[in-house]
Symmetry: C3
Subunit: 275 residues, 3 copies
Amino acid sequence: MIKEMLENVRNTHPLIHNITNYVTVNDCANILLACGASPIMADDAGEAEEITGICGGLNINIGTLNQRTIPAMLAAGRRSNELGHPVVLDLVGAGASVLRTKTANELLNQIRFTVIRGNISEIKALVLGAGTTKGVDADMADSVTKENLLQAAEFARGFSQKTGAVVAVTGAIDIVADEAKAYCIFNGHPMMSRITGTGCQLSSLVAAYVTANPNKSLEATVAALCAMGVCGEKAYNRLTREDGNATYRNYIIDAVYRLDGEELERCARYEQVLG
Amino acid sequence: MIKEMLENVRNTHPLIHNITNYVTVNDCANILLACGASPIMADDAGEAEEITGICGGLNINIGTLNQRTIPAMLAAGRRSNELGHPVVLDLVGAGASVLRTKTANELLNQIRFTVIRGNISEIKALVLGAGTTKGVDADMADSVTKENLLQAAEFARGFSQKTGAVVAVTGAIDIVADEAKAYCIFNGHPMMSRITGTGCQLSSLVAAYVTANPNKSLEATVAALCAMGVCGEKAYNRLTREDGNATYRNYIIDAVYRLDGEELERCARYEQVLG
Amino acid sequence: MIKEMLENVRNTHPLIHNITNYVTVNDCANILLACGASPIMADDAGEAEEITGICGGLNINIGTLNQRTIPAMLAAGRRSNELGHPVVLDLVGAGASVLRTKTANELLNQIRFTVIRGNISEIKALVLGAGTTKGVDADMADSVTKENLLQAAEFARGFSQKTGAVVAVTGAIDIVADEAKAYCIFNGHPMMSRITGTGCQLSSLVAAYVTANPNKSLEATVAALCAMGVCGEKAYNRLTREDGNATYRNYIIDAVYRLDGEELERCARYEQVLG
């Protein structure tokens, strides 16, 4: 199933509207081009709805959010919902400030998301509320391991049931859940966390995959996460003893550029854990 | 003629003020340093005029324009005109939203540009008006080919006559026209379109070339486009089977860093088609 | 002494809040990850204080400052002072516009900085006042050479006495001074000035080093400057005849990723010149 998801991106060249942070925006644009999609970045409320209208999908990322861009996120999201476009939310830093948590909640209240991506801490910040450090799930560890895999999958599925979105919890092991099922993805390399923006890039990639694969958001998200992980592995294998995270960053995007469906199918390591 | 244009950049180190989008701004700065110029980025209306005053040329790029930066573009442009500095306009996304088209038109009304760069669709959006999909030129294809080359050159020359600026229509084949003459440039590689910001980088490069070659804006623009295209070819030839658009991006800037006048003269492929 | 400074960064993983320009922000984030620290970028006044509160140190960089980010700089700086966190100021472009010089002075008046970094011109702009081109030090050359080394070191020490901050004057030869002592650092390569943002990256690195080495700000700053210089030398030695400033940029960050304490100690070239 994974193979076709990638090929649909390459064949349909979805145009993705990104309202994203200025730290990793260039890498987000280049990874979209690498996978066969096209990026447009536009974050002013004066054009956000119109730009969304000419695109196939929307990716909202709350890193470096500000008073000027928040209204653009809301306007573009609502317009995408009207048009039936897929919308991805990247929760960068939710829980780190009231502004981020509040904005994330406002986005969740006003917009129907197709996919929500974050690490376990970011998603917990939303589920449990800002400032809440106790609660039923509060004792769950801040990383997904083989030991707490099922618990984390149930947590993700629960958040999917609450939001109606596919939920992607990324980390050493990734989890992707909808309201019924959950998958684990084992691809990737620890060094990916030493590059800024691999998460942001992944959300852009997810937006391309779900846009090119309508009505298959769960499978498309699994495919995008496998693709990123496989590319992280391939890129790591190219590194010499002198290379570090800057070259690694480039090689991951290069690997996305070169990845084809056959290789993705062959190298993807995932399994269904719930549903 | 091309050779000297490059050498004048290397010998005079023009300082270029860029008001540009946050997606590709780092690459714009690095390509300016690569060619021998120096960049300053400053987009707040509170300093835009003053920064322009200490520079030799100005590059305005409307990608990710916003309510805060538009007044800075207008102020810096007017100040550059007063000082007799060359001003380049990059039309990123003109036609994609009313805000971009309106801002581009406002810039054209208030500022005298030395060079205007865009792809054929962006320039058509301005010539034909936002929302206008019919008209004398509306049947022109959205890419320049060997078949419609003369028509496209006439179109560019017409826009030059209207604006007084050298017009650079970039694509698989580039066209550079002033009010009398037009050139075609055949350098470049299709993979350049798979990198974000090669157009933005080119506009920065053009700003450096026209600043270092006063009263030779047409020739300087032709030289800058040839330089970018030659570097796109050289960089492509370095790529291995594992490299993709991220490494290609770096190699193009590297090639600009290494390019000298002799090589540019030898590898440039252009011809005069009008005038 | 240098060795431990680096190792303390690798062992404590300081989290650094950066309010920095959008030109080089990605490189600042990646160099922080490369050295073993973690970056957070947040520049909206609505969250600046809170983000600073969860970090160990703060790095304020006035490149591409604007009306929206200046209040965030002031708020985050004051909060860091309350919390006793180290705060680094990067003077990018001080002297180039009234807005930058005025903002730099306002920051210096309201915030107690741990380290101030700039080139000699930027620091002179603050010491001598905007628009002042005469004065006791005005005849000092705009670059530090072997001939004016002592004069420059005294100038830096004087600025440290005035501000209470460690002062890092960077250039072909770097100077680091506190109120009593001054060091010169001879590491680095001239080609580093052909990359945008090596100065910005250095300030991020300094923030990581001073945060990981409390009460040793002078030594930690010397260590960070040596580290950057050593990496500039190592990265230069990897370049082929086809590589330029883009590849060089990546290799410097790669070298920071690979650098260990032993190598830093062995390759650092610095000496005490005052105190």
